[in-house]
């Protein structure tokens, strides 16, 4: 018999604390596979952010620094500037990156900081119990938008990749979704390409990963994936928005959201 897959070396064999159906586990695995495949395990430093993934350092056989709310891109900048031959990545949620840390992500991207950002967007604050995120959809109910998000009161969902795509600094920008095998396969390619961009010294890379939060969404895991496809994909289109060559912005769709 031929073995076709195995646990990534960099991912430790310990139980994760995430809720059933949460896609952090999938995202972690994709990051781990990219690190293994690129052979950068011995020179990679992670920056863990606040939120559910704060304990991700328990699952990766890597050096890690834990960052304050939203500040991971600044922390990663500090590490990368003094250790330029290391591979430095952050892993941030939507509250962390798109609310309290908006300044840090915009300026790290604009400097073309040679780091990789994995941006988990599940349209809600998970760890604090399901409050509105900057990426919460219009009409979406959360504990702080109990009647549905109303743009007149709470503004619009922020499209982070499109926002960063207005800057000249980023080298690689993509949005992917953890919904179905095809999308997950494309997500893996994008995450690997983001790390590859850094390995080649080409500059700032970010992958926005549309994810589910079944518990705060109040949906069973499978229905949560369907909800992601039906509601998040129209608001947050998938694709590679910026690739290292050419440097100009090009919209190259990675593929549709729905899997048959």
């Amino acid at each position: 018999m031929k073995q076709v897959t195995a646990r990534p070396k960099v991912l430790l064999d310990v139980p994760m604390h995430y809720c059933p159906g949460c896609t952090h586990g999938v995202a972690h695995r994709l990051v781990a596979e990219a690190i293994d495949e690129l052979g950068i395990r011995g020179r990679t430093i992670g920056v863990a952010s606040v939120g559910c993934s704060v304990f991700m350092y328990n699952y990766f056989d890597l050096d890690f620094q834990q960052a304050a709310h939203g500040r991971a891109p600044a922390v990663a900048t500090g590490i990368k500037r003094v250790l330029p031959d290391r591979i430095v990545f952050t892993y941030q949620g939507d509250g962390d990156l798109a609310a309290i840390g908006t300044a840090e992500i915009v300026h790290a991207a604009n400097r073309g900081e040679n780091i990789t950002v994995i941006f988990i967007n599940n349209a809600v604050y998970g760890m604090t119990g399901g409050q509105m995120a900057p990426t919460t959809l219009l009409g979406m109910r959360t504990t702080t938008t109990p009647f549905g998000r109303d743009a007149r009161q709470a503004g619009y969902p922020i499209r982070v990749v499109e926002l960063l795509n207005t800057l000249r600094g980023p080298a690689y920008l993509a949005r992917v979704a953890l919904a179905g095998p095809g999308n997950i396969h494309r997500a893996k390619k994008a995450i690997r390409r983001a790390f590859q961009t850094q390995v080649e010294g080409k500059g700032f890379s970010l992958v926005e990963v549309l994810s589910t939060c079944p518990v705060t969404w109040g949906l069973p895991p499978v229905e949560a994936v369907r909800w992601l496809e039906e509601h998040m994909l129209p608001e947050f289109p998938l694709g590679e928005f910026r690739t290292p060559e050419p440097r100009e912005a090009v919209l190259m769709p990675l593929g549709g959201g729905k899997e048959g």
């Binding site: 050096d63 620094q65 834990q66 304050a68 600044a74 922390v75 500090g78 003094v82 840090e104």
Partner: protein, 352 residues
């Protein structure tokens, strides 16, 4: 040794370079901008990293990242900037990441002004952001001392794995005095804790989260033990004309220079005054004050604030002698005649 005429901000920058600083992250603010400007000119050519951050919040978090990765790292700012850095300082203290922070204090609260003040004493000495954490705080009174203490600050930061603050003021940053620098010393640095991503040995973690209350209490007790050790080993102060003093003036930094002149003038008038000048504001020279309290009839604390260090003096003296306060606010520098008048008044009140 070569002596140079330098601005305080530039002398601190040069001292940091000679102490082997590897990275500077900061955000411009008056009256300390000569420091980042000096670093921007000099640091890249000497193999280091200079980066102007998008804010003080980002700057201190860059310091946290670089310090955690094992670099000798610093930032500098002035009062409103230090307020913004409190968030990062709490993490640096909690995760035990060494770094040096220069605060050239200006008048506050709020936007205040850009005149020299000492009103950040509480912010510097009481707590580094939220939680039970402290900075080691050094308060130079001259530009030579600012340079010397900057070099010391890097060594203390690494010895205690704790942020160290140089607390100056707008005048110290802006004025010029002759300064000389000691030859650079090759230092043995222990980076066994740093997240260098070297891929050798067990993975390393820079972190300040302890969800279990018992564990966090242990961590806090460990930090307290460090501060207790610093209180035993790192307390620094200067006693001037204290041998036969009957009245002690207590002041630090710029105010201590004024107080020193006032002490000389009071002596010329036959008043046996002396000066006690804390150099470390945390740890505070408690024993020196307690000892002086057995000798003098009263203390006069002179500050460019509404009265902040006076609380530490009172705590140290523990009621053994009266402690009087004289302060000027808003960036006003007290003059020697003003302080002499206070000394005369107090001397008359406590005369036998």
């Amino acid at each position: 040794m070569e002596r140079m005429l330098m601005k305080g901000n530039e002398a601190i920058a040069e001292a940091a370079l000679r102490a082997g600083v590897q990275a500077y992250f900061g955000y411009p603010i008056t009256p300390q901008s000569e420091l980042p400007e000096y670093m921007a000119r000099e640091l890249p050519g000497r193999g280091g990293v200079f980066l102007q951050a998008e804010s003080e919040v980002a700057a201190i978090n860059m310091v946290y990242g670089a310090g955690g990765a094992g670099a000798r790292v610093m930032t500098s700012t002035s009062s409103p900037g230090v307020s913004l850095m409190q968030e990062g300082l709490s993490y640096l203290v909690g995760a035990e990441v060494p770094c040096v922070i220069v605060n050239m204090v200006r008048g506050g609260p709020g936007l205040g002004n850009i005149a020299p003040a000492q009103s950040d004493y509480f912010q510097a000495t009481r707590s580094a952001g939220h939680g039970d954490g402290r900075l080691i705080v050094l308060a130079p009174s001259t530009i030579q001392e600012a340079a010397d203490l900057t070099i010391l600050a890097f060594d203390l930061a690494e010895r205690y794995r704790n942020p160290v603050m140089i607390l100056g003021d707008g005048i110290l940053g802006q004025m010029m005095e002759p300064v000389s620098f000691p030859p650079p010393v090759q230092r043995q640095r222990d980076l066994s804790w740093a997240t260098t991503g070297a891929g050798e040995g067990p993975r390393r973690l820079i972190n300040s989260i302890y969800l279990d209350p018992d564990e966090l209490e242990q961590h806090n007790l460990h930090l307290l033990e460090k501060y207790r050790r610093a209180q035993q080993e790192e307390v620094r102060w200067e006693a001037y004309r204290m041998e036969d003093a009957r009245l002690a003036v207590a002041a630090y930094g710029l105010a201590a220079r004024v107080a020193r002149s006032a002490v000389d003038r009071a002596r010329a008038q036959g008043i046996a005054a002396g000066l006690l000048r804390p150099v470390t504001l945390f740890p505070f020279p408690v024993a020196a004050f307690r000892q002086a309290a057995e000798q003098v009839r009263a203390f006069l604390v002179v500050e460019m604030s509404a009265g902040q260090m006076v609380e530490d003096v009172r705590l140290a003296v523990e009621g053994r002698a009266p402690v009087r306060f004289y302060g000027r606010l808003g960036g006003v520098v007290p003059t020697p005649p003003e302080v002499v008048q206070q000394i005369e008044q107090l001397a008359a009140e406590v005369a036998p």
